[in-house]
């Protein structure tokens, strides 16, 4: 009995070592921290379902180091455009513990519910989070985290 336990723990030890080794050997060790099935949709409901937000880079493809703009469309539960909202932008690379290299700002665009985020920049390939906080003029507020993989 004790023999089989020690064998089992040995086996577990080997497995652990193998896991550590694997972490060291893979091309991008930090990739292990990237969630599987990362939702990279850029057209989604906010966390509490208050708004639907669709975002798109005006630069295609997105090039590293270039300051560029994104277009944002905010609609509510009825699909009505939400104009006059305040948009707060944040983000960064969760795997590398740093934020965005710039401080982007959003301004209303011509069409109702449309906004333009200026000052976006990415400085590394990989998984970026783009976090939007939205506060409508009537006080409804919600947030969302988009995932952008470069």
């Amino acid at each position: 009995m004790s023999m089989s336990i020690s064998r089992r723990s040995m086996a577990a030890g080997v497995l652990t070592s193998a896991a550590i080794l694997f972490n060291v050997v893979v091309a991008d060790p930090a990739a292990a921290a990237r969630p599987k099935n990362l939702n990279t949709s850029l057209d989604r409901l906010t966390d509490q379902g208050v708004f639907r937000i669709s975002i798109q880079s005006q630069a295609q493809p997105i090039r590293l180091w270039r300051v560029h703009q994104w277009t944002v469309r905010v609609t509510d539960g009825q699909g009505e455009p939400v104009s006059g909202a305040q948009l707060a932008i944040d983000g960064g690379m969760p795997q590398h513990r740093h934020g965005l290299p710039t401080a982007p700002r959003a301004e209303p665009a011509a069409a109702p519910g449309d906004y333009v985020i200026s000052g976006m920049k990415f400085s590394m390939p990989g998984w970026w989070e783009l976090k939007l906080g939205v506060t409508a003029p009537d006080g409804r507020a919600d947030r969302i985290t988009f995932n952008v993989v470069l």
């Binding site: 180091w65 590398h96 513990r97 740093h98 934020g99 290299p101 200026s118 400085s123 590394m124």
Partner: protein
């Protein structure tokens, strides 16, 4: 018989070729993409500088080249830009910190890759090459000079090329209006002299001083980054040139650079720099004043009258980097410029104040990833073996600049 011999030789050559091909490293498509991203052959032309309308003017570059190595532009007549930015050392020197009329607090940076960067200096306190060039001239530890002195040197020795480009120099003959030594940031006497000048006269001096900086920037923009053995290797891998082999250590080092070491995360793109700033826990030098890096640098850039949005910029509306600069982030404490690694193996010592004497010390630092003296280090220990350290050094030497006389 002859035919059989030929066939046998052909078969033998075939085996040799197959053997050579088999020994070539195999790269996945993702790795090939990373290799391509680091390759100078894929680099775009340096970004234009609309804030300097003379940026690509050959006459301005020629004037700038002369000014770059003119020691008359210093308090003791012995210091020029070229004193620290030595052309045979990748436009840097071999000292921990710059040595001008005094000893500076920061390692001299190489000039050539700077044209690709939106921010200059280790802390990015200047947002253009021309704004950068104006800093060291008035730094008491570097040129120890003042802008009124600069304009007088130009009037005495460079009047013709200057006026052909920029129009008439201000007349500084009235020393009551234009003191010999006057600068807003010089020693106390120079500051007091500057404060006594009229705003109009200050502006006239500033304009000429800025044109001096723009000429130097135009010269710096003519310095091109040259392809290295690494670029020749990648060209071969991508089928864009003949195959050039690297040693097994160099290849292993390249794999570590892109993989386990995660070096290529920040040292990305054809300059092997993301032109950003990072706190990597580099130790503070106890003999130097407190230094918070980018935290202070971004504020200095925003306050600089010579920045992109200032009165001396030729494109004050095209200032995205300054307009959207991060200010006041904890991440900026002791964050310093991610330097280009092109030619890095040839320019010890390393880091913003020459803290590490050798590449081995640099790699040991990344292997251990100690806590930052202030702020928070972004890196985690890479735990390199001795063999891996040797391999990374070997790889970094594939980025050596072939023009330097002391290498290889």
């Amino acid at each position: 018989m002859t035919a059989r011999r030929i066939a046998a030789s052909a078969a033998f050559i075939g085996v040799l070729a197959a053997g050579a091909a088999a020994s070539r490293p195999v790269w996945s498509s993702a790795e090939r993409e990373t290799l391509r991203s680091l390759w100078l052959g894929a680099a775009e032309a340096p970004p234009a500088d609309p804030t300097n309308r003379y940026a690509d003017n050959p006459a301005a570059a020629a004037l700038g080249q002369s000014l770059f190595s003119d020691t008359r532009l210093s308090a003791n007549g012995e210091v020029s830009c070229a004193s620290c930015h030595q052309s045979d050392h990748g436009f840097t020197d071999t000292l921990p910190t710059g040595q001008g009329v005094g000893t500076g607090n920061r390692r001299t940076m190489p000039v050539t890759p700077a044209v690709y960067s939106p921010w200059q200096f280790w802390d990015g306190r200047a947002d253009s090459l021309w704004a950068q060039a104006l800093g060291p001239v008035e730094n008491p530890a570097e040129h120890g000079f003042t802008r009124t002195e600069v304009v007088r040197v130009i009037a005495a020795y460079y009047r013709e090329p200057y006026e052909a480009l920029f129009g008439p120099l201000p007349d500084l003959s009235d020393e009551a209006r234009f003191p010999l030594r006057a600068a807003p940031g010089g020693d106390d006497a120079a500051k007091a002299a500057w404060a006594r000048m009229s705003t109009e006269d200050q502006t006239a001096v500033n304009r000429a001083y800025v044109n001096f900086g723009k000429s130097i920037a135009a010269f710096e923009r003519t310095l091109t980054v040259q392809p290295t053995r690494f670029d020749a290797y990648v060209a071969g891998v991508l089928g864009k040139g003949p195959y050039v082999s690297l040693s097994s250590d160099e290849i292993a080092g390249l794999r570590l650079f892109m993989g386990k070491g995660q070096c290529a995360n920040c040292h990305n793109g054809p300059m092997l720099s993301n032109h950003g700033f990072a706190n990597t826990g580099v130790p503070a030098r106890p003999d130097l004043p407190a230094d918070v890096g980018r935290s202070a640098g971004v504020r200095a850039a925003l306050a600089d009258p010579f920045n992109c949005k200032g009165a001396y910029s030729d494109a004050p509306k095209a200032c995205d980097e300054l307009e959207f600069a991060v200010v006041g982030s904890h991440e900026q404490v002791r964050a310093y410029k991610v330097p280009s690694l092109r030619g890095a193996a040839q320019r010890a010592p390393y880091m913003h104040a020459g803290q590490f004497a050798s590449l081995e010390e640099v790699i040991d630092h990344y292997s251990r990833a100690p806590q930052a003296p202030d702020g928070e280090s972004e890196i985690r220990p890479a735990n390199f073996t001795l063999k891996e350290r040797r391999q990374i050094v070997a790889f970094l030497h594939t980025l050596d600049d072939g023009r330097a006389p002391h290498e290889q």
